[in-house]
């Protein structure tokens, strides 16, 4: 079937004002869609990249977050020497950690949010990849010193190197900043576990993180710990633990994305329809001519649909270009499971961009369907006489 493609392309170019206005309308819709999805994706990626595949986290039975969990020292000793726990130089790769919160004001505001403080031991660094001191130095064991994630130091007051902050009645000095390739613990402050235990007068741990030998062990060991009636503990893979936390925040965002983009695309669809109806009306004579030249009704229909889809795809590309700089934006919100700050980047990923293109094309298709059908139904005589 012959299509007057050249004719359509020339039309897009000749009517550049109208083309651009329509394309931009669709572009903005696509940009908003990407913006919300990129935010949800950022949260998802931060949390799901945070767990190491062979790590298992042990919490008190019934806890949803480390903050409201506790594991006794005796429990920790039992867990450490269980079969299946990975060892390094004959020491089990397991770390009891203590978690608390401090309230800090955001930069440029009088109010702020809770920041997670994690008491860690030497094994904690081995169990987490990506940790890297980017300024200053690491804290010294036994001292009230702290390393702060760079992103948190950027967003909150009084957390730069040399600053002091208070946990209960003890002052801690920030001696270094760290970075961890966008994982969840990049929203934290790390201090020595023993210092934090004496500061908070807590005997025991919030959670235990340990490395197991292989995926099968992870499943069997976590079942064994969770089912042990004496322990009152639950063990889950670190991945699952973080993925469960993202549920509420990014789930709500995806609903919001759906709602906003549905309504915006209806609006953009109407706009596209308007433009295409006008285009068809203005080009009635041309359509008649095309028919005389031998292009069939179906050719006309498809040609107009394609023209509109092309405009919409141009729009989607504009939208993607508008949304791309978001990749450089880092933001934060409170995690409603832990009541603490979680920092993350917007992520405009290739699959989201592909989705955006498809989405644009669909708006273009729906917007032009009725006008194109109309164009294809003109009688040659009437069209030429118009």
């Amino acid at each position: 079937m012959a299509l007057p493609i050249k004719y359509n392309i020339r039309n897009i170019i000749v009517r550049k004002g109208s083309t651009l206005a329509t394309a931009f309308t669709i572009g903005l819709t696509v940009a908003v869609f990407l913006m919300v999805m990129a935010l949800a994706r950022g949260i998802d990626m931060t949390l799901s990249s945070s767990g190491e595949p062979l790590n298992m986290i042990v919490l008190r039975e019934g806890s949803t977050a480390e903050l409201n969990s506790s594991v006794t020292r005796e429990n920790f000793n039992d867990l450490m020497f269980l079969d299946g726990v990975e060892r390094e130089a004959d020491k089990p790769l397991a770390s009891g950690e203590l978690v608390t919160l401090i309230y800090k004001a955001r930069k440029g505001m009088s109010q702020g949010s809770n920041v997670t403080v994690r008491g860690v031991g030497p094994m904690s660094f081995k169990l987490r990849s990506g940790f890297q001191t980017v300024a200053g130095r690491l804290f010294q064991p036994g001292l009230t010193e702290a390393v702060v994630s760079k992103r948190i130091a950027e967003r909150f007051q009084g957390l730069d190197i040399g600053d002091k902050f208070r946990i209960q009645t003890t002052d801690y000095t920030v001696v270094g900043l760290f970075d961890s390739a966008g994982k969840a613990f990049e929203s934290e402050i790390w201090v020595d576990i023993n210092s934090l235990a004496s500061t908070t007068k807590r005997d025991g741990y919030s959670s235990v993180l340990m490395r197991v030998k292989d995926p099968n062990t992870l499943a069997s060991l976590s079942k064994r710990i969770t089912d042990d009636p004496k322990l009152h503990l639950k063990a889950v893979s670190e991945r699952t633990f973080y993925e469960d936390q993202q549920g509420t925040a990014s789930g709500a965002l995806k609903y919001l994305a759906g709602f906003i983009t549905f309504i915006m695309s209806v609006g953009a669809g109407f706009a596209g329809m308007n433009t295409m109806y006008a285009a068809v009306a203005r080009r009635t004579k041309e359509i008649g001519t095309l028919r005389v030249l031998g292009f069939g009704r179906l050719s006309i229909l498809i040609a107009f649909l394609l023209e509109s889809i092309a405009i919409a795809v141009i729009g989607a590309v504009i939208g993607i270009v508008l949304a791309l700089p978001l990749n450089f934006v880092s933001t934060g919100t409170s995690n409603w499971v832990t009541f603490s700050e979680i920092a993350f980047n917007f992520k405009v990923t290739p699959d989201l961009m592909a989705l955006a293109l498809l989405f644009g094309a669909i708006i273009g298709f729906i917007g032009s369907l009725l006008p194109s059908i109309r164009a294809s139904r003109f009688k040659i005589v009437d069209a030429l006489r118009a």
Partner: protein
Amino acid sequence: MKYAKLIFKNILRNKRRTLLTISSLVVSLFLIISLATILTEFDRGTEEASPLRLVSRHAVSLGFVIPMAHLQKMKTVPGVKEAMPFSWFGGIWKDERNFFANFAVDARKMRDVIPEIKMSDADWQAFINDRQGAIVGAKLVKLYGFTPGQRITLKSPIYNQSVEFIIRGVYTGSDEKTLYFQYDYLNELLPAWAKDNVSTFSIVTNSAEDVPRVGQAIDSIFANSDAPTKTESEREFALSFQTMMGGVKTFLYAIMAAITFSLLLVMGNTMAMTVRERTKEVGTLKAIGFQRGTITALFLGEALVVASIGAGIGIGAAALLFRLVDVSIVIPNLLAFVPTNQTLAMAFGLSILVGFVSVVYSAYRVSGLTIAEALRSTE
């Protein structure tokens, strides 16, 4: 006004186009109003905070508890009228998806501390008399069909404890999505490590002027204790929750700006088409003596009428829908979902502005053509 008929004739000339433009306006305004309402509802907690009340919590963060024993000392501070525990339980009913707030309080003091909670005297008495009793907000009743006398079990991950309550009353008032129960009952059931502690106290003062002084006085009592407090007005407390949302507000504003801009493009494009198609007519109008100003005004009037109709329907639909259907029931963290009059006025202003900007340039340009140029137009 003598041109009103001309304006309306012009609007009705291409009915399909007008209809599509208006529909586009309606959906965009509906969306803008919905988003703006999310923003104003975030602020509701701050606006509805009582000027007489304070909230006292652990100085470090809400993640820590303070001893119940603080209460007696708090009550001795001059200016304090009454105080009671107001402790977050975080209980989940059946499934995590059924999220609603639940607090342990002192049933006997509650009416004095939170007078905006309205319930019949009989229900108050029933609540006070039953240690296991609980009261629920009217919206929770709508959502889950709770009835007085019903037994419900809440499981709190914080305390790792399930507690069974008996519903004794349904209250109305500002926050109708909360369940309150007796602190004493909970305290008995708690494990040793959690006993005799609360997450926050709610304190009511004699007058609003007392609030800052009382806050400082309370904090200075406990400053050197194991559990120092941070006591602030209810408003400040609500505000601190809001800032926890972080960048969400900026994000919503950005989306609203994008919608407005795309609306401008839609309207602008349509009006430009309309004006261009009528170039020849403009020539005719000029030939029979119409001035440039009058012609511009005719186009402007047309755009403004279309914008007003779109705004009227969009605003009316949003106002009506959100009043008939209370969306807040299904959105956690929002207590209500009612567009404010300011939001509706803002939406109207916005669409008038869009109507004006969309046509002013093309109308001014076309009406400036000479008669000959306009008549020669091939559009």
